[in-house]
Amino acid sequence: MLMSEDVMTEIQRDHLFNLILKGEREDGRAFDEFREISIETGTIDTADGSARVRLGKTDLLVGVKIQPGEPFPDTPDKGVIITNAELVPLASPEYEAGPPREGAIEIARVVDRGIRESKSLDLEKLCITAGEKVWIVFIDVHVLNNDGNIIDAASMGSIAALLTATIPRAQYSMGDDIPLPVRDIPVAVTVIEFGGALLIDPSLAESTIASTSLIIITNSDGSISGMQKSGAESLKVEQVLQAVDMAKTAAAEIREKFLDV
């Protein structure tokens, strides 16, 4: 290799920075513009709900499985949500096999909190016998191709999979299958800061260069149900406020175009 990775990064950083000064992005998008989005539901027959999301070249699958199990001791009359993200080595040369690392854990936990805190699922309706048996909703995010902004794709995929999921009551001799009751449609939007500018839906190159992002999860009524700064740089209060506005607008558009049920 003639140039080290650091040198490559330095050159790419300069290139992207110069573009941004001119108000441009490498792929021609506006700063507040998502890449092309495609959400396909019902992809996986073995799941109780599923969605394949493509965000530009980022590609992932969310599978929802719903099975009876024990409630947590401190919430005996509520169903349980368990969210997991697998960054399998098929999806990126940077991913390695092994137990989930902090990146995968953060993705799973942020997606989980978005669903949970928006009260999108009515957990009390997922109780079968209080203290004994409740429905466990497993949300598994399986990344297939990482071209940046896994979080937003995983968030879209999760809510799309839940919206189309069925509680498999017949399989456990508990009556007819019914749709999973979903009350709200939280949408995560990631905003990165770079050279003073704010950009949504970072590509892989953009997120490599600008390591700091703010993930904002907003609900149908425009309220916020989750937020997470991620990355090694700080943000100014004004930037945070502006990011929230950008996220709200983008989320509303995504909700309307892709998650309308």
Binding site: I44, L61, N84, V88, L90, A91, P99, F138, H142
Partner: protein, 258 residues
Amino acid sequence: MNEKPEHFIVDGKRLDGRRVDELRSIKIEIGTLDRADGSCYLEWGNNKILAAVYGPRELHPRHRQKMTRSVVQFRYNMASFSVDERIRPGPSRRSIEISKVSREAFEPVVFTKFFPKTSIDVFVEVLQAGAGTRTAGINAASLALADAGIPMRGLVSACAVGKVDGELVLDLMKEEDNYGEADMPVVMTAGGQITLLQMDGHLTTEEFYRALELAKTGCDKVYELQRQALIKKYSEEYTAEIEDEYIEDAAPEGDADE
């Protein structure tokens, strides 16, 4: 899980209407993944499989490098939602064994000597499982290796033979796999060399001989589909490249640097 059916073959037709020597429908897409050096999406009956290849690339940790050849690595993995009962993510004893025999199915055909100190990494993700995931995964991986431009003696092709109602059948579906009398996945080169052979169940020697022949016809059919998919892919790409060049030529030259 479904109950065991009373008969698997009625009037020469199987539960899904196939003849005993007929494959389930197969759909192949080559090069579906952007980050991988080579990739393939394959549907086979109810199986949905993705294979990706990375490499040859430097192998870490270094003490695992071989001075005279590349190391082939193979990871077969099932998505937790790919089966009826959710499975815990991560390797199981089953997936470790499948990964091993799958890797060995490719080692005879990959020219590892060309790339000392490197690894060639093959990843198979089972997105939806419906009997025969290992053979489906190997067929997909075979094409992903070709797509990655890894030099090989040739493709390998995989197919299982089983026994139901005392009869040998090609390419088991789920019920046949669960309740059948034998299951024998086979991987072959186009020349009929066997690179993977496993068998569970109960076969007389005579049945085994015939099963191997049936497997050969199955692998041959799969090979033909693989070959067509590659031709389609490469001729498309060839067309696409010409179109791209045309477009590039048409664009004003100065733009390229922006």
